[in-house]
């Protein structure tokens, strides 16, 4: 059950990322353990399978709560609110995947797509035109401007070392990251 009605803005589910790396992230999530229980990171969940809703609020630059506990194989609806002044991300992945995602975010910042407090869509368009890299959706993350809310439904695997993290340059490294504890 939803504790809070949220509107998913058209852009809220969009993730800034280079196309090249996205399949890697998804691949990591779908191999290994085969289908059924998801892979190393889990997989997008179906609304009908949701058994728990977890609210996470993003501030500058930290989450509340800073750790979440879910059951193995559980499908969770995340309701994410950006209550800060800066753009933040909620991204479920392994530490290595977060590390790989960081440079892409840095490129977005260097191209003026990612401003501290907003996303410059014109710059994103220009970057897409000139470099072929642009915005696309990734099911394991939400990128929210200040004041925005969004939802993400995720089915967790049985075993994984997972973190939810913000890969805006500097945010992960200064501590905007939390552990996902998987329990029986």
């Amino acid at each position: 059950m939803l504790s809070k009605k949220t509107t998913l803005a058209a852009i809220a589910g969009t993730v800034l990322s280079m196309l090249a790396s996205a399949p890697a992230a998804l691949a990591a999530g779908s191999d290994g353990h085969g289908h059924g229980h998801g892979g190393a990171t889990g997989e997008p969940g179906k609304p009908g399978d949701v058994t728990t809703t977890i609210n996470v609020t993003m501030y500058d630059n930290y989450y509340e709560p800073e750790e979440i506990t879910v059951k193995e194989g559980e499908t969770v609806r995340f309701v994410i609110t950006n209550a800060g002044r800066f753009v933040h991300e909620f991204n479920i992945a392994t530490p290595d995947m977060h590390e790989a995602h960081g440079p892409e975010m840095m490129m977005m910042m260097e191209h003026g797509v990612l401003m501290p407090d907003r996303i410059d869509w014109a710059a994103a368009e220009a970057m897409q035109q000139s470099m072929g890299h642009g915005m696309h959706e990734e099911p394991n993350s939400l990128l929210l401007e200040p004041g925005q809310s969004g939802e993400l439904i995720w089915r967790f695997p049985d075993h994984a070392e997972l973190e939810f993290a913000c890969n805006i340059p500097g945010h992960y490294d200064s501590g905007m990251v939390g552990n996902v504890m998987l329990t029986h």
Binding site: Y59, D60, Y62, P169, G170, D173, S174, G175
Partner: protein, 583 residues
């Protein structure tokens, strides 16, 4: 009056431990003594000045929102004072003798009381004579009221200093007598013949004559050499060590309490995330190396994951010495200590931008058409006020290679806060990211962004030959105060016409550097201005009373690079001219 009520006589006479770097104190009331001490390093021992019988003094730990009372007892045979560097407080608590108050006479106790209205890493030091270079400095750590915008498992104060075997008085006397007294990197006759071989005899002679005309040398990066850099009072051999568990986030609170020395700081094997500059939170930026000006503070977070030691390596700007400390999982572990890099040489490019020295011939230079328009608040300005649109350095490169550009063969990213082609452009030893002022963005701006109400130009000027340092060509003793009006927003234009880098420090009010980030321009208390550059900073004039602004290089300040600043109007204007009771 103190709003905070302290119980028990114990708290009243609380004396902070002099030894060690972390002496947690009960909030509210503190006692410090200013004492004659002996500064001991592996290289020398000499008499000096300390707090609570030590140098550095104890770390003062305050909490945002509290009112502090600090009793300072002078055990010296000369007057003393303590200035709370970077703290926003009533002017009569600022601790500058002759401006804030009369100072503290020998044997007297002065009691400071002021509210703590900020958080972060700061420091305190004597503002009397040369007591600070002699050892009278310490760190201040202020815990914020709310949550910090970052996370860490433990924190360490890392106070850098440039302890010299000579006491400040003697150093100043020597510099006045012979400005290159402490310059050990002077070019030799051997260098001359090498240059003559490289560029021909006539060119080598002309080069020497040019430099002679300017009353300076290519090696004038540091006018004080021969010091022993310290971290928390310990030299490289004594190796200050901070412990950690692998995987922990460690906050390092770097304070440069040096009299004269800038440092380039790195921790080989670890990236540093800069989260605070001069006590104010900045939007986190990951770097491999950063330069800390005299009197600045930077807080960084590192996360060593391996079970091994890491070296904190801080090279002086002139590469004449380094401070060294260690982060380690266990006491006694060490990591490799890097070699000092090649010293930079000032290039003629630097000097051409500083024609305020003796008559220099610009005829040989091509003022071309480089576009500096995108550099935020930094431009390169000639002494006559014309803005340099760039120049061709090709004809000047003769013997003066830009060594920083050649470090490890790494292409240096141009930092707009250094003159193009200057020998001072920083470059990370590992070829990675070197922090620039341009990277600093306020995490939470303190003031609404608005246009300045007026501009004040301050040319940083000097005569190295006579060791006179001044502002607009006038030294402090001969100058009129800068008068500001409460409520205005002043834009200061610093034009550095000298060959030295000057860390400019305004007391009592924040310095907002115009680094092109608009509403996110960072809030600092020290603005470092490199040779041949112009840097703008803005100040919201919100602190009535009388203050000072000065170069924080101890001997430059003493030589005259300082101004009194009077803020007229505002809530406490009436008190400005009345004498302040001390002791």
């Amino acid at each position: 009056m103190l709003s905070r009520n302290l119980c028990g006589a114990g708290a009243l006479a609380l004396v902070l431990a002099a030894a060690g770097h972390a002496a947690p104190a009960t909030a509210g009331e503190y006692s410090l003594t200013v004492d004659p001490i002996t500064v001991r390093t592996s290289d020398f021992s000499r008499k000096g000045v300390g707090f609570n019988s030590g140098s550095p003094g104890p770390v003062l730990r305050f909490k945002e929102g509290e009112d502090v009372t600090i009793h300072v007892t002078n055990n010296l045979s000369e007057p003393t004072s303590i200035h709370w560097h970077g703290l926003i407080l009533p002017y009569d608590q600022d601790g500058v003798p002759g401006v804030s108050y009369d100072g503290i006479a020998p044997g007297e106790t002065f009691t400071y009381t002021f509210p703590i209205v900020q958080a972060g890493t700061y420091w305190y030091h004597s503002h009397s004579d040369f007591q600070e270079p002699d050892g009278a400095y310490g760190a201040i750590v202020i815990e914020p009221e709310g949550r910090e915008p970052f996370r860490y498992d433990r924190d360490y104060v890392v106070v850098l200093a440039d302890a010299h075997p000579h006491r400040g008085h003697r150093i100043m006397r020597n510099l006045k007598m012979m400005p290159d007294y402490y310059n050990r990197q002077q070019q030799t006759l051997f260098d001359f013949f090498r240059d003559a071989g490289d560029m021909g005899f006539d060119a080598a002679v002309a080069d020497r004559l040019d430099w002679g005309d300017m009353r300076m040398m290519k090696t004038d990066i540091e006018d004080l050499q021969g010091f022993t850099p310290l971290i928390n009072g310990m030299d490289p051999e004594q190796n200050w060590t901070g412990l950690f568990e692998p995987g922990e986030r460690i906050r390092l609170r770097f304070v440069n309490a040096s009299a004269m020395s800038y440092f380039d700081i790195r921790i080989p094997g670890l990236e540093m995330t800069v989260v605070q500059a001069d006590g104010n939170n900045v939007q986190p930026v990951k770097v491999d190396e950063f330069r800390i000006a005299v009197a600045e503070t930077y807080d960084v977070i590192v996360r060593p994951r391996e079970d091994r030691a890491f070296t904190i390596f801080a090279e002086s700007l002139g590469r004449t010495a380094f401070a060294r400390g260690t982060l380690a999982p266990r006491e006694g572990m060490t990591a490799e200590v890097p070699e000092l890099r090649e010293p930079p040489l000032l290039t003629m490019a630097d000097m051409s931008l500083a024609p305020g020295m003796a008559g220099m011939d610009h005829g040989g230079m091509d003022h071309g058409s480089m576009d500096h328009g995108s550099m935020g608040g930094v431009t390169h300005t000639m002494a006559d006020g014309t803005v340099m649109q760039g120049m061709d350095h090709g004809s000047m490169d003769g013997g003066a290679m830009d060594h920083s550009m050649h470090a490890m063969g790494a292409p240096a990213q141009a930092d707009p806060f250094y003159a193009p082609g200057s020998g001072l452009m920083p470059a990370a030893a590992n070829g990675g990211k070197f922090l620039s002022y341009a990277d600093l963005k306020a995490q939470a701006p303190l003031y609404e962004d608005r246009d300045a109400t007026r501009e004040i130009e301050l040319r940083l000027t000097g005569n190295m030959e006579r060791y006179i340092w001044s502002i607009n060509g006038v030294k402090h003793a001969d100058s009129e105060p800068i008068r500001l009006t409460y409520g205005e927003r002043v834009r200061f234009k610093f034009v550095n016409e000298t060959m030295m880098t000057h860390p400019m420090h305004l007391h009592g009010m924040w310095s907002i550097i115009d680094n092109g980030n608009g509403e996110w321009d960072p809030i600092k208390h020290v603005v470092s201005v490199a040779p041949g550059t112009t840097v703008y900073m803005e100040t919201e004039v919100d602190a009535p009373g009388q203050w000072i602004m000065h170069c924080h290089l101890s001997y430059h300040m003493d030589a005259g690079m300082m101004r009194k600043v009077i803020v007229e109007g505002g809530p406490r204007a009436a008190g400005v001219t009345s004498p302040v009771s001390g002791g």
